[in-house]
């Protein structure tokens, strides 16, 4: 199902793409089954708390420049938004240059669930507009607003006329999907409707879609050599950035989970080519990406020269770090794309990957071109990448059994608690970077050197593990891995 910007709603990843949160097997089987459209989701009888599509929609929207999100929800649904804006106090920007993300709650209460909350929504949006004068407003739906079934779309149109600014619905009810990345799609859909413009002349610009533009100083010179100016559709992106992005020649994203829907929308609406299959991480990924991009803009030779130059620049650093990493085992627990990107990166660094947990898996993305496979499938086909893998939506007790079984030298993770589990076994964690910072040979060198240091002195974790009394029964400890999956009829 291609992106449909005419609708205000966006179906969940499960429905749209056949994405799954339950699987165990090998990467090869997973990727092949996904490609043949015969991938089955496995459900669980026991699960632990996961994460929220709603919060991942509103944090992305609120990160944009000049915007404001009205959260049509009980007050606590925006309770975690401080996590996504607190760092602004420490950014070395001049005083007054930054403001916190604006998420304003309607604060739905019990009586609103009975009598409706639309009048409150109108009032909140008006007060929020008066206080902040944003250039646009997004109204996010929630579990509660969805269950009571309110017509928020009509209110958006009314308010847009009244306030004289775009007021866009973000269909972000958390209970719609077990995959928190569905919230990224709700963000991408809403921002595409609000900010993308009709295609005009192509300009020599290239779009990067991701969480953050941190690391752009390392990537801009590479793109400049290809004659392309980098536009970051990330937190802090302006309305004008999106307008300019509509005229770019191409787009790539940090990963399939966060970026693919917006990239596909740019392709569908504006004809901007989306490079989906080869993400530019590690030497292998970078070369493939640059070959694709260079070929597309008619500068393949130049692109490969840039790759050679970058490779030479970081070769010694990477080779030195590889001596520490050689033969080590690294367990992975990461998002749908990065689980397998890091599997390839670690292999490139001479590290064995006994198992990778992906927090979900997308057998395809929204790119209308069905010939463009997802990145994991490409690695299986092109590089013969194959590892033991499982898919769980941050199911910590499943991941715990796997870490215990494989006894890795370290784990590669980012958020979602796997680091706490690893430390209870005395296993150190490496907090993975993503996006522009990880790109190319510089990213690989950064990974190699910091990872080598991360595993160079394990005394802290060893001692934590000695004193930690894990609160799990012998029965649980004796269970085989993947034992929470329901027996399907």
């Amino acid at each position: 199902m291609a992106v449909n910007l005419a609708s205000t709603d966006v179906p969940s990843r499960e429905r749209r793409l056949g994405s799954i949160t339950g699987y165990c097997g090998t990467l090869k089987e997973l990727a092949n089954d996904g490609c043949k459209k015969c991938l089955k989701n496995r459900r669980r009888d026991f699960q632990t708390s996961s994460n929220c599509a709603h919060t991942h929609c509103i944090n992305q929207l609120a990160g944009l420049d000049g915007t404001l999100v009205v959260d049509h929800a009980p007050i606590g649904c925006a309770g975690a938004q401080i996590c996504f804006t607190s760092v602004k106090s420490r950014v070395p920007a001049p005083p007054g240059a930054l403001e916190h993300a604006r998420v304003i709650s309607t604060g739905l209460t019990e009586s609103d669930t009975i009598f409706g909350g639309l009048e409150k929504l109108r009032e909140t949006a008006r007060l929020a507009f008066e206080r902040h004068h944003p250039r646009e407003i997004y109204i996010a739906t929630s579990c509660v607003s969805a269950i009571i079934g309110e017509d928020i779309d009509s209110v958006c149109r009314e308010l847009s006329d009244e306030l004289g600014i775009p007021v866009e619905l973000a269909a972000a009810e958390g209970l719609k999907s077990k995959i928190w990345a569905s919230g990224f799609d709700a963000y991408c859909h809403a921002v595409s409707r609000a900010r993308l413009v009709d295609p005009g002349d192509k300009k020599a610009t290239i779009n990067f879609i991701g969480f953050s533009n941190i690391g752009r100083q390392y990537v801009e010179p590479i793109m400049a050599k290809l004659g392309l100016e980098l536009i970051c559709l990330t937190a802090t992106a302006t309305v004008e950035d999106f307008e300019r992005a509509s005229h770019s020649v191409a787009t790539w994203g940090q990963c399939g989970a966060q970026s693919s829907y917006l990239a596909s929308a740019l392709e569908v609406k504006c004809g901007v080519k989306y490079f989906q299959t080869h993400l530019p991480y590690g030497g292998i990924g970078f070369e493939r990406f640059m070959r694709d991009l260079g070929g597309y803009i008619g500068k393949e030779e130049l692109a490969l020269k840039i790759v050679e130059d970058e490779k030479a620049k970081y070769a010694k650093t990477i080779e030195d770090a590889k001596k520490t990493l050689a033969g080590k085992t690294g367990f992975i627990a990461l998002g749908a794309s990065f689980a397998y990107e890091y599997a390839r990166l670690l292999r490139e660094l001479g590290v064995n990957v006994p198992h990778a947990v992906a927090y979900h898996y997308d057998p395809k993305l929204d790119n209308p071109n069905e010939n463009e496979p997802v990145a994991a499938y490409a690695d299986v086909v092109e590089l013969g990448l194959d590892i033991d893998t499982s898919v769980n939506d941050g199911q910590s007790l499943e991941t715990r059994q796997l870490i215990k079984k494989y006894k890795p030298d370290f784990i590669m993770t980012r958020g979602h608690g796997a680091n706490c589990i690893a430390s209870s076994f005395g296993v150190p964690s490496y907090n993975c970077e993503i996006g522009l910072l990880l790109m190319g040979y510089r990213g690989l060198a950064m990974l190699a050197t910091t990872l080598a240091d991360a595993i160079s002195n394990n005394n802290l974790y060893r001692k934590i593990a000695k004193t930690y009394d894990a609160p799990y029964t012998e029965y649980y400890n004796g269970l085989p891995t993947h034992s929470f999956f329901r027996e399907e009829a």
Binding site: S49, A53, I75, G79, A128, K178, G417
Partner: protein
């Protein structure tokens, strides 16, 4: 409740599970959406002193991950299966099933599910925590009420000097762990046997002792008063409400005298302790006098945008011991109206020289952004103020070039291990934080640097 609320300082009622998580080996089992726990965690743990719970990692809690399909098929059976499995997997002394908005609206019955585990090896309680009914403070109260109503039994024996300690909401109060450690130490020194239920080494044994207490101490302006009244009704133990968690010398000494008087403890012992600690407190400030009096020093006025507990503690300390004066006070904690006049009185009570001349507002709200919206355009270039609040306010302080100290949740992702503003040393800790931020903000006219 206002129709505009931003810069959220509170989580939803599901945040009440952090009260369960503060009691060692008490396990919350969630019948909520997949992300309700994470949303509650944001302002209570991750960006509130970078805390991780003590027994169970909060990302590993059993949860039905309630989604659309459960609305269609009903969640009760899935919940029953989940509880059944969870009790086999987790070493726990007690479990509490909680639910959130979606399960409540569709009418799933967690009470019925909990009752079906009557014969389980551990007590299995239930507490409804829908976010549309209340915030994490309401959730905290629901959890303690569930333990009292569904688990605790009256005791015929009262233990002389045993006092349950309430009023501090774990995790929400960023400094709870160290505050309770120091409070326990102080009360023990005065001759009481404090029964603190949160933190390492407490757990079920402490919970089981609650009905045996001679009295309940509620420390702080309003939280847990409902719990103390409930305990009084159920177990007949009176409660002593001391409305200020004391910071600094004068407040701590007052607290000591009050608790000694109430509990009939050794006054001479208390007075000699007070004398020694007050001398030490002001000695340490006197040693800073070269800077404290006439050097580059923090402004005299302060804005507070914080919980009622923190606002009362810090305002009273600053006025009484540090020579500061209030400029504006915001309390974005959605404090029930019945408590507001008393809290205002606690802040306005301390005496200072210009009290009758310089007036200021105290505002109760559930809108964390009210403070910023009102003072954003105020000109502080001539007369500086300090801003004491949460990490939301840190950026406001930075933008206006004003000193800032985190006193209230969410206090940021800074480590708070071993930190508290409670007691004599807590006052010194506060002065240290304030001065250290001030000298980062104000260079003074002697600065040998080009600041253009």
């Amino acid at each position: 409740m206002a129709c505009i609320s931003e810069q959220h300082r509170l989580s939803c009622a599901v945040g009440g599970i952090y009260t369960v998580l503060a009691i060692e080996k008490f396990l919350p089992i969630l019948h909520t959406g997949p992300g309700c726990e994470v949303n509650a965690a944001g302002a209570l743990t991750i960006v509130n002193g970078a805390q991780t719970p003590i027994t169970y990692i909060d990302t590993s809690l059993p949860c039905t991950d309630f989604c659309e399909e459960d609305i269609v098929f009903g969640g009760n059976e899935r919940l029953r299966k989940l509880v059944d499995e969870a009790l086999k997997y987790f070493k726990a002394d007690l479990a509490i099933i909680v639910d959130g908005c979606a399960a409540e609206i569709v009418g799933d019955d967690i009470g019925e599910v909990a009752e079906s585990f009557e014969d389980a090896d551990i007590p299995t309680l239930h507490a409804s925590l829908p976010g549309f009914k209340g915030n994490n403070l309401w959730g905290h109260s629901q959890i303690l009420s569930a333990i009292i109503d569904q688990y605790l039994q009256p005791s015929s024996e009262k233990i002389k000097g045993l006092a349950n300690v309430f009023g501090i909401v774990p995790y929400y109060d960023t400094f709870w762990e160290t505050t309770l450690e120091r409070l326990e130490e102080l009360l023990s020194r005065l001759g009481l046997t404090p029964n603190i239920i949160y933190g390492i080494g407490k757990g079920k044994a402490a919970i089981d002792k609650i009905p045996q207490a001679e009295f309940n101490l509620v420390i702080g302006p309003w939280l847990d008063l409902d719990i103390a009244k409930k305990l009084e009704n159920k177990f007949g133990a009176p409660y002593f409400h001391y409305p200020v968690l004391p910071t600094g010398a004068s407040e701590t000494s007052d607290f000591i005298r009050a608790i000694v008087e109430y509990a009939g403890l050794d006054k001479a012992n208390a007075e000699s302790y007070i004398a020694a600690r007050e001398k030490r407190f002001f000695h340490k400030l006197q040693r800073l006098s070269n800077t404290l009096i006439g050097g580059i020093m923090y402004p005299k006025r302060f804005v507070i945008n914080a919980s009622a507990g923190a606002a009362v503690s810090i305002a009273r300390f600053l006025i009484r011991d540090a020579g500061l004066i209030p400029h504006r006070i915001y309390i974005p904690e959605d404090v029930p109206e019945e408590h507001q006049a008393r809290i205002e009185q606690l802040i306005r009570e301390p005496v200072y020289d210009t009290k009758d001349i310089i007036d200021y507002d105290i505002k109760f709200t559930d809108d964390g952004g009210l403070c910023e919206s009102e003072i954003k355009n105020e000109d502080f270039s001539l007369l500086h103020v300090n801003i004491f609040g949460t990490t939301w306010d840190e950026l406001l302080a930075k933008n206006k070039g004003l000193p800032y100290v985190a006193i209230s949740p969410p206090s940021g992702d800074y480590f708070v291990v071993g930190k508290t503003f409670f007691g004599y040393d807590g006052g010194l800790e506060f002065i240290r934080d304030l001065q250290n931020d001030s000298i980062r903000k104000f260079l003074g006219s002697g600065a040998v640097a080009n600041v253009e």
